[in-house]
Amino acid sequence: MNKQGRCPLTTSQIIDEYFIENRTRILDVAAYLDRLLRSADSQPAGEDFRMQAFEQALHILSSTEPNKVDHIQLVFSDPTTELKAHLDTKSASGAWNPVPEVR
């Protein structure tokens, strides 16, 4: 499948159009990480499987590789192929938790 399609805008046009809204998103992420450090119980967030995936996603964001969104999608995804024996919960949590799968 061809994934070479380009955005019609030039680099400078993309920055002009999208910089401010993405600056806002980065500040929101920073504020979220700061909020975790100010939590009422001071528990380290890194023990949570969702935040472990989040950390990996941040590393991908700061890389120079293309297709960052594809890679981050896979970081959050369940990579297994085995069907679940029973319904464990009605709703997804946003990141794959490997612990129940390996016990």
Partner: protein, 280 residues
């Protein structure tokens, strides 16, 4: 510009929403059966729901010159219940002759369990038995990749299934390629937080091209935007994309897909005249 909302749960929306959508150019809504937010206790509840989808909603939409079509099933969130599935499946055929029913959907998986897959396969068999088109939900968030792979793995086992008559919905960056590679239609869903943003949807269109891609809001009882499709048109104009490309995505692609049902008509004949002859 006219557009078709390929996936809207209008039973959860107000009549004012229909009006706003009509004013923004909506000429048709395709409404799949889905989860009410709570599990229904009996197949009788589905009978009433199917009556609402095939009788009341088309009338409500027609007040605003919007053609309403629906898809029937027991949705993936309730697919774990095999007993309820069996009862509901028996009741679906009597609704399939209704004038606005275009197929079976939205079927699929939620957490990708054995029972959900069995329920999915039962629905595919029903669709094939009654020569119906199929609309498929793919799971959310961390389950999407696994669920989309499982969906395709099961679909390709049915050699008499025409991929052109199947739409695998809620595609994202890590699943859209595999869906298109197998010849299915797909849908990009403009839904806050759990699905695709306007900018990311346009990125995917730029990467994969417009063929067999449809756009929808999937507006429902959760935080969602019934006029998300016109918002995507603005996002595409913001990047300098042509009106022809936009029309292909929001009108011609869904029109071509739905016309295969043999039951889809636009509310006014003159709208047909706007369809480009360049649609594949």
């Amino acid at each position: 510009m006219y557009y078709i909302e390929m996936h809207g749960h209008m039973v959860s929306r107000t009549t004012d929403d229909y009006r706003e959508m009509a004013m923004a150019g909506c000429v048709a809504v395709s409404e799949p059966a889905f989860w009410a937010g709570w599990d229904r206790q009996s197949a009788d509840s589905f009978d009433d729901y199917f009556r609402q989808l095939t009788d009341f909603e088309p009338k409500r939409a027609s007040q605003f010159f919007i053609r309403h079509v629906s898809w029937l099933c027991l949705n993936p969130k309730e697919g774990e219940d095999r007993r309820l599935t069996a009862e509901v499946l028996k009741r679906i055929p009597k609704f399939l002759d209704r004038p606005n029913v275009v197929g079976i959907g939205e079927i699929g998986m939620n957490r990708v369990t054995h029972n959900e897959v069995d329920t999915f396969i039962d629905h595919i068999r029903l669709a094939l038995d009654y020569n119906q088109m199929i609309l498929i939900h793919t799971p959310h968030l961390e389950d999407k990749y696994k669920g989309t792979r499982a969906t395709i793995d099961n679909l390709v086992k049915f050699q008499n299934l025409d991929p052109n008559c199947v739409l695998i919905d809620h595609a994202e960056e890590h699943t859209v390629g595999m869906i298109l590679e197998h010849g299915f239609y797909t849908g990009l869903t403009l839904y806050p937080n759990t699905k695709v943003s306007l900018a990311r949807a346009v990125d995917m269109i730029e990467k994969y091209g417009p063929d067999r891609i449809t756009i929808s809001s999937a507006c429902d009882w959760g935080p969602s935007v019934p006029t998300a499709v016109p918002q995507l048109m603005l996002e595409m104009r913001r990047r300098g994309h042509s009106e022809e490309l936009i029309r292909k995505l929001v009108f011609e692609n869904p029109l071509k897909f739905l016309m295969q049902s043999g039951k889809f008509e636009l509310p006014r004949l003159d709208i047909h005249a706007t369809v480009s002859h360049t649609a594949p």
